[in-house]
Subunit: 527 residues, 2 copies
């Protein structure tokens, strides 16, 4: 591994600035040997210009060419060695199995988008043929397809050094769409980012992509310069509500505002219905504890809120949860900043008069200790902000409601969520089916008898939801629909065959399923 720590601009490395940064060993807190060069304003500008320069060539590559590019990234990523795995582990304190799994998920994601490119439905091809004889006015030939929006700025996440970072879902979907990327490497795993950026640049070279198709800069506040840059046309972000909101505000204040797709804050309510508690309360307590403490609770979909109707079964369940949580060992978090935020979040919960600590050794040392709290239902019904804020880490808050009516009120008080889960027996459903329309408004993904941690990468996945889960409920950052965030429709009226993109040619050379005069067909229009 040749970790230079220099910025990636237009296929070259660059270190114009004098400010340097160090990555640290997540376990020991000690600085790792490499030096990273914080990008200057000029380097941020050059990175965006490189992406802009690459755009005309890149967005007119065929979907099949871009598929080869994504597959080359996947192959290079899979070919990284054990030293790479060790490096990611050192920077994030995540265990080996998780990192190997995440690498597979990341390359798998690239290959999935390659298959989307070959399937071609993302192009949204629509054709309304000319009606020259129509009265009172003839209809011209109209053809529509989705095209890349332009260069995209991507901000990596702390908690997924691979799958939501340099070659993660935002990058994969932007590249698939035909958008060059300017990446802001996450400060928590810069050496990992350096290695992965090298992988992407290598793959771009091998598959003949323009040099500026992928760029990456190091640094912290410098990322805002990307969002302000006139070349950047959209932003992908995974991180805190505060960080996401700041980028949204910058983007909205531009002379030409641009969309920001920020995945931010979710407490992922778990709704425990009475028969489920009666039949398998102990099993739920075990599984739910596993979901809360998995990965040290450092998942966007970590279950942070448990809601049940008060009953002896629910009380028994809470005692079992308390026991499980208190027996869960402490774990090392991604970095000291994350641990410090966790400690502050716990302190705020402990100081709140309406919230009671149920289980968990007191938080101390350099690891995060799992915790369970109980809050009054009124806090949710009346919109207490503390209850709605994600505390990132292995902690969850339980709420008891009096009855079904109060359950509905409590759920109505929720802000937007990535997920909302019902744990129910079949016998619960007739009585509680009315909760579903309520949950549909609140979350991007609704689960029945499952746990929200573990996000499948597939066509039907939605990793999104109303504010503050994300900044735009119309997008998803996981799954193949993620590509739509970086596309815009373009209509060609009366265009000559030679000037039409392949997707819209009469002959249908890409063999697309197209909407032709209101009917879906793969037929050629050539007679």
């Amino acid at each position: 591994m040749n970790i230079l720590g220099e910025n990636f601009i237009n296929g070259e490395r660059s270190k114009q600035g004098s400010l340097t940064l160090k990555s640290v060993d997540a376990h020991s807190g000690e600085a790792l040997p490499w030096t990273f060069y914080q990008a200057t304003e000029r380097e941020a500008d050059l990175a965006c210009r490189a992406a802009e320069q690459a755009f005309p060539l890149f967005h007119t590559t065929s979907p099949a060419q871009r598929a080869l590019f994504l597959e080359a990234i996947a192959d290079e990523l899979d070919a990284t060695g054990d030293d790479f795995i060790q490096l990611v582990m050192r920077e994030t304190a995540l265990p080996e199995g998780r990192i190997r799994g995440e690498r597979g998920r990341t390359s798998g994601q690239m290959r999935l988008f390659a298959s989307v490119l070959r399937r071609g439905d993302f192009l949204g091809a629509r054709i309304d043929t000319a009606l020259p004889e129509r009265t009172p006015l003839p209809r011209p030939d109209l053809r529509q397809m989705q095209r890349a929006v332009g260069p995209v700025a991507v901000f990596g996440a702390s908690n997924f050094p691979l799958a939501f970072s340099t070659a993660g879902g935002d990058t994969a979907s932007a590249l698939a769409a035909g958008c060059p990327v300017v990446m802001k490497a996450h400060g928590g795993h810069m050496a990992t980012a350096d290695c992965v950026a090298n992988v992407i640049v290598q793959a771009a070279r091998k598959t003949g992509m323009p040099a500026g198709v992928f760029n990456m800069i190091f640094g912290n506040s410098i990322g805002q310069a990307l969002v302000r840059h006139p070349a950047i046309q959209a932003v992908g972000f995974t991180g805190s509500l505060k960080g996401g909101r700041a980028l949204c505000d910058i983007a909205a204040a531009r002379p030409d505002p641009i969309p920001v797709f920020a995945e931010m804050s979710s407490i992922n309510p778990m709704i425990l219905l009475p028969d489920a508690l009666a039949v398998r309360g102990e099993k739920i307590a075990r599984e739910l504890t596993d979901s809360v403490v998995a990965g040290c609770g450092q998942f966007c979909t970590n279950p942070g809120l448990i809601v049940g109707i008060d009953s002896p079964d629910y009380r028994t369940f809470l005692r079992q949860m308390a026991q499980n949580i208190s027996q869960s060992p402490p774990q090392t978090m991604l970095n000291r900043g994350v641990l410090s935020s966790y400690e502050k979040g716990l302190a705020a919960l402990r100081e709140h008069g309406g919230i009671r600590h149920l289980a968990g050794q007191s938080q101390q040392g350099t690891q995060a200790v799992p915790q369970l709290f109980e809050a009054q239902a009124g806090l949710l019904i009346n919109g207490d902000p503390l209850l709605q804020e994600e505390v990132f880490g292995p902690v969850t808050i339980a709420i008891s409601v009096a009855d079904k009516a109060e359950l509905s009120s409590a759920l109505s008080g929720l802000r937007g969520q990535l997920t909302a889960t019902l744990l129910a027996e079949e016998s619960d459903l007739p009585n509680f089916a009315t909760l579903v329309p309520l949950l549909e408004r609140k979350a991007g993904r609704l689960l029945l008898n499952g746990y929200p941690t573990g996000v499948e990468v597939s066509d039907a996945m939605v990793h999104g939801g109303p504010w503050p889960a994300t900044s735009d409920a119309r997008g998803t950052s996981v799954g193949t629909l993620a590509i739509e965030r970086f596309l815009r429709p373009v209509c060609y009226q009366n265009y000559a065959p030679a000037l039409l993109p392949d997707a819209l040619k009469d002959e249908n050379p890409l063999n697309l399923l197209r909407l032709v005069n209101g009917v879906h067909t793969r037929d050629s229009l050539a007679s």
Copy 2:
């Protein structure tokens, strides 16, 4: 016609405020007999609450039920009498044929969305079936579809009292999506708005829709209260850049920002290529003049910029344009405010040192006189803002460039547009095909040998484009794709059949074309 001038809230009429407004005869400037009651803050709130209250019922109506609702609106609209046509003519000074045509377009649009609802592809149904045996982890059953975002605020346009107003494209697409609407009636045609709102309310009653499915308030600045209201989840707007930007800024500053789809400002460049000028310059001058003065130039797609390579043919063309424009009669504009803006726009052009007046009698009186100006190419290349700003009315500005390279530079200097048109002979295309990728970045609709005025309402139409043409290039406000602005994806994981929406049930009761395990099919999944 029973024009009460009261606000429409939850199926009732309301006049709580003391401020009243008058609509005026566009020709004479005289007040019309009716009084309109400006909505109070409380009435704006009640209108939004009514929409919110209607949402749970309305968004769970079946697509077929909503289709009946839209068709009932269309039928009621078609059944309006000659007195209605006369009324719209008085409020807007638009001629009878135009109003009758626009009414047909508006009801046609409702019926088109009804057909989209029955077709069902807007639902975007996707199913990834469970893979319980997959290793290392099983895949759960995942099903995704598009659902309504919530209540939508719509701001009508001055220039289309029917097709872009109360029952216009934004309202039609929002209702089709399952979103209740709160309309802000345009101050330029409030009596028309009152009649059309009655039509919608009648249709809602007839088809059993909840009372709050459509609401409308009168007033001016009160519209901002809709954008701030927590119940409103998206905004549709057609109007000025200044007005659209103000709404975008309000929406972005909310505790929970919401998307605004504002269609604002476009100068719709016409690029005249050499062989086309040589072969049919005179014909182009005639047709282009017609397009510039049609409807008194009061179209979003009015051609405001002509670009040609300097040559004797281009000079001849400009002389013919000048003659045509100077012979075009003055016309009455939509209202005195629009006329005043037109006069101010012309004055700014006349005062600019780099812009020369070519043709048009001096602007005076109560009608708009068509005008032709010529500007230096450098103004476009260097991004002079005056050249980029839409002057709403029958005026266009011609630019000469030295050669193809300067043509590219000039087009690169353009901001976002609704349309960009090439007027070309087949022999021009090989030489100028490189312009197309450039134009794709700039505009939502690209025309070859046509004129941008006249916007077809169909599946393949795009009436959108990068800022400042619209506030979100990923949307269109005309054509069936407009529905997507008001939808968000929701994923159901491991959901029980009884809880799944029809679109996602195994049996495929809506006979949708669904993406099942990566393949498009109408097959049932029930074995």
